[in-house]
Structure formats: C-alpha cells, structure tokens
C-alpha cells in the first residue's frame, strides 16, 4: 500500500463516517469523485427542471382568465426562476459553472424532469400541475432537505416551502373550477386524466429497474426508493381527489386494508422510456425554446461582461 492510498483511505473513511452520522458534507470537504459527479448530475437536472418547467405553465400566463390568477401564476414563474438560480449556485459549489450546465442542457447531454415534456392544453392544466406535479415534486424533494450535501439540502429547504405554496394554489384553483360551471368541471377531469400517469412516473422507474438508487441511498443523497415515494404520493393524493370530486383514471385503484395503503395500476413504462429518449410530445420544443433564449441573449451577456471589464479597468 502506498502513502497516497492510505491517505485516500483515511479521507474516505472520514467521509463515510460523516455521511453515516447524518452530518453534512460541505464544499471544501473531501468527497469521492463519484459522489461529486452524482450530485452535479442530480442538482443540474433539478435546476434544469425548474427552468424548463416554467414553459408549460408559462404557456397560460398571457391568457390567465382573471388578473388574480395571472398574478399567482406570474409569481410562481418567478419563484421557479429563483429556484433555478439557487440550484445552479449549489451545483457551482461542486466546481462546475452555470454556463457549462446550460450548454449541456441545450445539447441534450443533461436531462430535466420528463413531466415537462407534456403539453398544457387548458387553463385547468395550471391547477393540475400545481396539485399533482408540484405535489409529486414535494414528495421527492422534502427528503432532500436532509440530503448529505449541505448546499443542496439548504437550497431544498427554501424551495420546498415555496413549492408547498404552489401546490395549495393549484389545488385551490381546482376547487374553484369544480364549484364552477359544467365546462369548468369537465376541464378539470380532462386535465387530471392527462396528468395522472405522467405524475406517477415522476418518481422514476420501479425499484428493480433503478440502478443508481442503492448507492445514492448509501450516500444519503437519496432517502427513499422510487416505489416508496410513489406509494406515499398516491396515498396522499387519493383523498384529495375524492374531496375535489374528480376520478383518478386508474381502475385498479383500491384501498388495501392489510397494508394500510392504496393499491394502484402499473404506469406505461414504455411511454416513459420514449419520453426520456427524447420522443415525448414536447421535448424538442422545450429545448429549442431554451436554446433560443440562450442564444438570443448572448449579445446581452457579452455586453454586461464588456461593461464590467471597462469599469474594472477604469477603477485601477
């Protein structure tokens, strides 16, 4: 054994001890390269999801049917851009920069949540995204507030608080529509029919088909398996659907007295695979819009840099 090996071993032991004791790893601490790479991938994917996720709801900003709803939706879009900023900043503590991550997003080298590759077709979709998509995101993200990597965990605390506002706003919109006209109620049911299965797929593939889960759980980046979180989401959502008066589009949905949870059907995993591969209904359009914004804004960013440089020089 060489000196470097034993040094490395000691660092690794200390890292394992910190993680094992549920303490936080901070940016200057030693960490295994694979841990760093996993976090960069996950945080970047999360940041990209916030930014791309502005598009489906943004589709209804100009048409929101009351000024109050317009203000709520605009505040939400602003929060999402803010979440993107915190998350890119958390990723930057791991030695990457935002511009590089943006390039990877628009080149298709990094992913974002597949849920945003579905179209928003009526204003009720805004409510259903708040209720189901933000609800699923909360189930996924709340455990991340205790993630082993400090900057990510702290960003998630703030993000989860705001996400919970968004979820309630979505649900309140749906309650209002369900108390409204026949056309409004039909709009809600149609939106639930379209978003239910994609929402269940937000938790990722079944545990048997999720190769990274075990290691991420050992590192305390992930706290629960995909199937555990999916079950928790279904159990939380079914009573809300009943209260709302909508039907979830799953004939297999049934209360299981024995295990105290809801049984539910199998999502169409082959469809999810197609969406992940880039063949979803909106993949190309979502990335193209992000690319266009980035490229159209290049001259603005260059001007800001040039101006900062001039100021720096004249201050010398």
């Amino acid at each position: 054994m060489t000196a470097t090996d034993s040094g490395e071993r000691a660092l690794e032991d200390r890292f394992e001890a910190v993680v094992g004791a549920d303490q936080r790893v901070e940016p200057r601490d030693w960490m295994p390269e694979a841990y760093r790479a996993t976090l960069v991938r996950q945080i970047a994917q999360h940041a990209h999801s916030e930014i791309i996720g502005m598009q489906p709801e943004g589709n209804w900003l100009t048409r929101a049917p009351s000024l109050r709803r317009k203000a709520i939706l605009l505040a939400k879009a602003q929060d999402e851009a803010g979440h993107g900023l915190y998350l890119y900043a958390a990723a930057e503590t791991l030695g990457v920069d935002r511009a590089e991550l943006t390039e990877k997003l628009i080149d298709g080298r990094q992913k974002y949540s597949s849920i945003f590759n579905y179209p928003t077709l009526t204003f009720a979709d805004v409510g259903v995204i708040g209720w189901l998509v933000d609800g699923a995101a909360i189930c996924n993200q709340v455990p991340l507030c205790r993630c082993s990597y400090g900057p990510y965990a702290r960003a998630m605390v703030r993000i989860c608080k705001e996400e919970s506002f968004h979820q309630r706003q979505g649900y309140e919109l749906l309650m209002t529509l369900m108390r409204g006209t026949e056309a409004q109620r039909a709009m809600v049911q149609d939106a639930v029919d379209r978003w239910w299965w994609p929402s269940l797929m937000m938790f990722g593939p079944p545990d048997g088909d999720s190769p990274n889960t075990e290691r991420s759980m050992a590192w305390r980046i992930k706290r629960h398996t995909n199937d555990e979180l999916r079950q928790r989401f279904v159990d939380m959502t079914v009573p809300q659907a009943q209260h709302l008066g909508v039907t979830l589009p799953d004939p297999a949905l049934a209360w299981n007295e024995e295990r105290g949870g809801w049984d539910f059907g199998e999502p169409d995993w082959s469809e999810l695979k197609q969406v992940i591969k880039g063949n979803g209904p909106c993949n190309a359009e979502r990335v193209e819009r992000r690319r266009a914004a980035h490229e159209d804004g290049a001259w603005v960013r260059e001007a800001a840099l040039a101006h900062a440089e001039k100021k720096r020089r004249s201050a010398q």
Partner: protein, 297 residues
Amino acid sequence: MDAEMTDDHVYLSLAEAGPEPEGEARWAYGTGFTDPLLGVDTALPAGVDGADLAVYCQLLGDDALVLSQRLIEWVTCAPELEEEVALANLGLDLLGQARHLLTRAGQADGSGRTEDDFAYLREEQEFRNVRLVELPNGDFAECVARLLLFATARHALYERLATHPDRVLAAVAARSVKELAYHIEYAGSWLLRLGDGTELSARRMQAALDALWPWLDELFTPHEVELRLGVDPSELREPVLASLAAMIAEATLAVPTAQPRAFVNGRGGRHGVHTEALGPLLAELQVVARAHPGATW
C-alpha cells in the same frame, strides 16, 4: 419507514393545512391584493367627479396592465436567469398597480365593475393606454428602453399623485412610486451596460431608444379628464426629459431627436385609437375569460 419520515416537516405542515386552505393569510404568497389598501377611505372626496376619476384610473391602469402583459411575454425568453426573475417581478408590480387602479375605476363611477370586468370585457376601443406600452416586444434593448421611458415618466407622475385628494389613488401612487424607482434603477443599469458595453450592444441600445422615443410624448399629452382633475401631464415633460437625457448621456448614447408620432384626427391611445398591436394582445389576454361567460376563476 414512518419514524424516518417524521422530520419531513415541510411535507407535514402541508398535510396539516388540510385540503381547503382558503383564508390563510400567507397563502397567495407574493400576490397580495387587498391588504395594502386595507383601511384606506374609499369615499369620493368633495370636488372630485366620480366619472372623471374612473376614466383617469383607467388611463393609468390600462398603461400598467398592457405593459405588464408585454413583460409577461418575456417569461422563459430572457437573456439570463436573473433577468427572468427581474422582468417577472416588474410585471407583477405593474399588474398589481393595474388591479388597484381598475378596481378604483369601478368604485369611482358607481358601476361596481371589477378589475376583471375592465380587463376582460372591454373592447379594444375602450382601452385607454398610451401606444408606447402596447408595441410588440422587440429585442432586450427595446425592453430596456420602454421600461426606462415608461418608468421615468410614471415615477414623476406618482410622486405628484401621492398627495392627491382621492385617498385610494394617493395610496396606490405612494406605494407604486417605490416600485417604479426600482424599475428605473433596473432599466437604467441595463441602459448603461448595453450603451457602454460592446459595439453591437451600443448600436442596438441606440436603435431601441430611437425607435421608442417618438411614442414617449403621448405620456405628456393631456386628456380632457386629466385637465379637469388638475393633473396635467404636460408639466412632467421637462423634468422627465431632463432625467432621461442625463441617463442616456451617462450610457454614452445620444438623446434621440425624432418627432412624436402623430395622432389619428387628434386621437391616440388615451381616446381608444391604438396601433395594430393592441388587438392581438387583447385577443390573447381575454380569450379564456370570454369563452366562459359568467364563470368564476
């Protein structure tokens, strides 16, 4: 598993709130509407004509609403994430101003019309905004130029209106003046960066100022209602132009010399005679609301 999930405090607090969280103060976070004016005396002051005040509130409210709609079109298209946040923020400020002003219009004329009645159920010819705010977006330099021109003029106006005898209008103006000070700061900082950035950005910033400048004067052209209410906007022309000229010079750009755009038989946006850009903007803004007459959202 249960024990491990007990410290998921955010999730639990959400679940505890129950399925119908209406009436919770923090709930519509960032979108508060009634609070800022709570307790403000809504009675019409002596000597102020309700019908005139209602029209005046529409002039100002429509400016804010239409510019807010144009800013909203920037969402997901901004050059940088910081600008996504900032432009949405400015759009929210203007939307909030519009909501207060249009609500006041419905109180002042005794019609009881709501903010949504004004926004969604009026025809294009009934909108009274200046033409500057309805022009299509253009590039980021045009976004900056329009914000700068509008915010500088509106800030100067609201400073004066903060002491208006109508308590509601005065309260809206006092609150908005702080927001508009930030809009000027934001637009001014980009005017400087683009004007004194690269050769390309300077050219684009100058072109944007040149393109929008001819629409500025409409903000200083009095409507008969403004004269009757004693709020003549032509008094703003000189101080606003001086303030703009100073900022433009600092950005190493030239103050445009183009003449104001003419009216149509003496009538412009304030009288419901708009550019071709307003119709499509309103069609989009109003489409869902009009497809469901009488529905509540």
